[in-house]
């Protein structure tokens, strides 16, 4: 069945270092992947997205890599800052069918140490 899972539940990094958050997915039919950041008590905040026909996309300080061969998604955050501390979720969409439901993974807690 469908599943989106994260390899590490907690990731601790030093301020200024780069962070890499990983995600495995099992539904090869997914069209679209999104990374969300969720701070305590708030809703998921869009970070970056990537379509299944791409393998890399860059944003401001963030890069998403998609490896369809091994069904792996990663989020790289450059020069991690204290404000990056949050739970990070990957989510996938299978757009065919009209529902466009997001299937979320369980999340990785990123802790930035000063």
């Amino acid at each position: 069945g469908e599943s989106v899972g994260l390899h590490l539940p907690t990731l601790s990094v030093q301020e200024g270092d780069n962070s890499i958050i990983n995600c495995a997915y099992s539904n090869s039919a997914s069209d679209y992947f999104i990374w969300y950041k969720q701070e305590s008590g708030k809703g998921p905040q869009f970070i970056i997205d990537i379509r299944s026909n791409m393998d890399k996309r860059q944003g401001q300080r963030v890069t998403v890599l998609l490896n369809k061969t091994v069904k792996h998604l990663s989020l790289q955050i450059a020069a991690t800052q204290p404000g990056d501390s949050a739970v990070y979720f990957c989510a996938e969409i299978k757009q065919a069918g009209g529902g466009n439901k997001l299937t979320f993974g369980t999340g990785t807690q990123l802790k930035v140490e000063l």
Binding site: K42, G43, D49, N100
Partner: protein, 112 residues
């Protein structure tokens, strides 16, 4: 920057009571969604809504749940007879097309 808004931020209700959670999606968006997140767990899909009808719903979204877009700006989730296990954060989301969904801040529902 446009954003999704939700009211109330916290709703406390007695078991068996009806609650209505309200959302104002981003104004030019066409697709609307409700998700929920039980404390400490991942976000779960409830329902999607497009062109004034439900396009997909999950197993969680049973007969006790309904959604409505009563006017051009609001999108509501009604739970007719709340149960203890309905206690969760409820997030509304909207999207312009079938890709990136933008989430509101959530409503914390507590059923006593």
């Amino acid at each position: 920057e446009p954003e999704v808004t939700q009211t109330p931020s916290h709703q406390v209700t007695q078991m068996g009571q009806e609650v209505i959670l309200r959302c104002v999606p981003i104004s030019n968006h066409l697709y609307f969604y409700w998700y929920r997140q039980i404390l400490g767990q991942k976000v779960e899909f409830l329902v999607s809504f497009y062109n004034n009808e439900i396009s997909e719903k999950s197993e969680i979204f049973d007969d006790q749940f309904s959604v409505e877009r009563p006017d051009g700006s609001n999108f509501t989730l009604k739970i007719r007879s709340t149960k203890l296990e309905d206690s969760a954060m409820y997030f509304c989301a909207s999207s312009l097309s079938t890709d990136t969904q933008y989430f509101g801040p959530g409503t914390r529902l507590t059923v006593l």
